[in-house]
Symmetry: C2
Subunit: 367 residues, 2 copies
Amino acid sequence: MKKTKSNFSNCHHGGIYSVKDSKVVKIDFSSSINPLGISKNVVKSLIKNINLSYIYPDPNCIDLKKDILKYLDCNIDEIDNIITGNGATELIHYFSSAFVRKKVMIPSPTFCEYELASKRNNAKIIYSQVKNDFQIDSEFIVKNGNNPNNEITTVFLCNPNNPTGKDSIKQISEILEKIDGKITILLDESFVEFVNSKDEKRYNHFVNLVKEYDNLVILRSMTKTCGLAGLRVGYAISNKKTIEKMSSKIISWNVNGLAQIAARVALRDKRYLKSAKKIIETERKKIFSVLKKNNKIKPVATDVNFYLIEILGNKSSTELTNTLLSKNNLLVRDCKTFTGMNDKFIRVAIKTPRENKELFRALEKAL
Amino acid sequence: MKKTKSNFSNCHHGGIYSVKDSKVVKIDFSSSINPLGISKNVVKSLIKNINLSYIYPDPNCIDLKKDILKYLDCNIDEIDNIITGNGATELIHYFSSAFVRKKVMIPSPTFCEYELASKRNNAKIIYSQVKNDFQIDSEFIVKNGNNPNNEITTVFLCNPNNPTGKDSIKQISEILEKIDGKITILLDESFVEFVNSKDEKRYNHFVNLVKEYDNLVILRSMTKTCGLAGLRVGYAISNKKTIEKMSSKIISWNVNGLAQIAARVALRDKRYLKSAKKIIETERKKIFSVLKKNNKIKPVATDVNFYLIEILGNKSSTELTNTLLSKNNLLVRDCKTFTGMNDKFIRVAIKTPRENKELFRALEKAL
C-alpha cells in the first residue's frame, strides 16, 4: 500500500444504500455484521413489545446498562462507567466533541468516522500507516504521541482494525503502556467479539484495563455483534469522569425504545453469538483455502468476520465491485475510499456457507 | 408568572422515566403525544418488517423524505429542503451547532432543549418572558433582535408553545416580517398538527414561508404527532443551504430502520391523525367545562393537546404531582423546572375520554 495521503472529504460507508438502487443487492458482503442476521429471540421480543413504540424510551438506558455489565462480567461494576449510543458511531462523535482538540492520531487505513469526527472538531490529523503485515505501527504512534511538539490530544484505535481485519493486541498494549497518559485513547472494539479466541478472557482484556488507564475508552457495537444494524445500539466503557464528559454531549432519548429492548435480549442470547462465531471460524478457513487457489487475487489473513482481497491483475477494485454487482447482484466494499488505501483492495464480510460459495463462483468469473 | 430568572442546569423532561420507579405510572399525562398511541397500521407494518432490523438503514432517508413532501403537500418540492432526525430533539442540536453563536433569544417558558443546545454552543441567552395571556412577546423579540448591541444570531420559537399551549401565529408572523433577516429562526411546530383549525392551510402556513424567508427553519415531530415517541423521528424544512449546513453535523444512520418504516406508514395514515384530532377537540371542551368548576385550580385555555393548570391554593405543583402519582398512579408534568415558571403550574396531556375522567376524579381528591 502507498503511504498515507489524506484525501478525506466525507465518510464513505458500505451497505445496500451505498449503491444507486438498493434493490439490486441480493447479498450484501459490504456490511461486516453478524452472518446470522438478527436472532430469533430478538425478533420475538420485538414483536411482543412493538406497542411500546408509543412511549418515550428511558433516556438513561439504566436497564440496558445493567445488562451490559452482566454480559461483560468484567472488573467494572457500575453503570456510571457505561454510556450507550445510537450506534457506536454516535459515541465516536460524543467522544471527539469531548476530547479532540488541536491534533489527533489515526491509523490508516481505518474506519472513516474517526477522521470525520476529528475534522468536525477542527483537529489536524496525523495518520499512522499500518505496516506491511497490516499491523498497527505502535512505535510510530508512541513516538509521535509523546513528542510535545505534535500537540496530540487523542489517538483513535480500531482493534481488530477495519478494513484490515488484524487483531493488534500486542501493539495496542504497548501503546497503552508507553504513551503519555494525558492523551485520550478511543479503542474501538466493534469486531472483537468475532475474534476466534480460545481464551475467553481475551474479550475483556482491554475493558479490564479501564481501571488502570484513565485515558482509555473502549467502544463496542451491538450493531455488528448482534446484527442490529437497523436498530443502532453501541456502548462505551471508561472511568466515570470520562463517561460523564461524553454524556454531557448526549442527545435526549438517543437510543430508541425498540433498540433498547432488542439489545437487552441480544445480550442474553449467548447461543446465537456462539453459533455466529462458529460459522465465522469454519468459513474463515474455507475461504482462504479456496481463494488462495486463484492466482489473480491474494486474500489477506484475517482475525475477524471480514477480510481484504488484494487484486493482483490490472482490474481496479471499482471495476471488480461493479462487475460483481451488475452481473451477480453481490455487493462488496470497494476500499478505494479508505484514506491510505488504493484501488487494489476490496473488503468482504464472512457470511453463511451458501452465501460465501456464491461469492466464490462470482469472483471466478468476474476476475 | 414571575419574570424570567435563569435557573437552567439541565433539561428536565416528563415521561415515565422521570420518576424513580417507572412501573408505578398507570397513565402518563406528562408526555404530550397523540392520545391514540401508535396507529394499528404502523404496528402491522413494523411486525411485517422486523427482520429488516438486521440491515443498515438508509443514511439519507430518501424514501422517508419523499413521503414527507407528499404528506406536507406544500410549495416545497425537493428532498434537499428536508433533514430527518433521531427525534426532533436531535435536529435542535444540529441546528444550534450550525447557527448558534454569541447570543440567542428564547421565549420563557418553553421546551428546555433550546437552552441546552445554546449552552452547549457557549451562547448567552436572552429570555423573552411570555405575556400575561401566555402569548409570545413579539415586540420584545423584534426590538432586542434588531438591536445590534445584543449580537443575537438565533431565535428559538415553539408554536404552539410548550408548555403554555398557545398558538401565536400572528406574533410569529410579525417577528418574521420585522426581525433582521440575518438572524436564523428555529420555529418548532411539534404540536401544530393538533391545533383545531378549520382552515387546513394553517398547517402549511409557515412551511410555505420558507421560500420567502431564508432565515426560517421549521421543525416537526413525528414522535408527538404520530405517537412514535419510542422510535424517534423528526424532520426540519428550510432552504437547501441551511439544510446542508445542518446536515454537515449529522451522525451516520441517525434515523433507525424501524423508525423510517414506521414514519412512512404513519404519514399515510391520515384517518388515524384525524381521529386523534377529533378526540382532542371534543375533550378540550369537556376538560375546561369540568375543571372550571373547581375553584382551587384554574385551567389555562389551550390550542393543542396539552394544557396548563394553575393551582390557586397553597399546594405546590410538586406536592400535587406527588399526590397524584402516589395515590392514583397518574403522572402529570410539574412545571417548576421550566425556566420562567413557578411551582404553581402543572402541565397535563389530553388523552382518551376514559383517561381524562380518571384524572378529573383524582384531581378532585388531591386538591
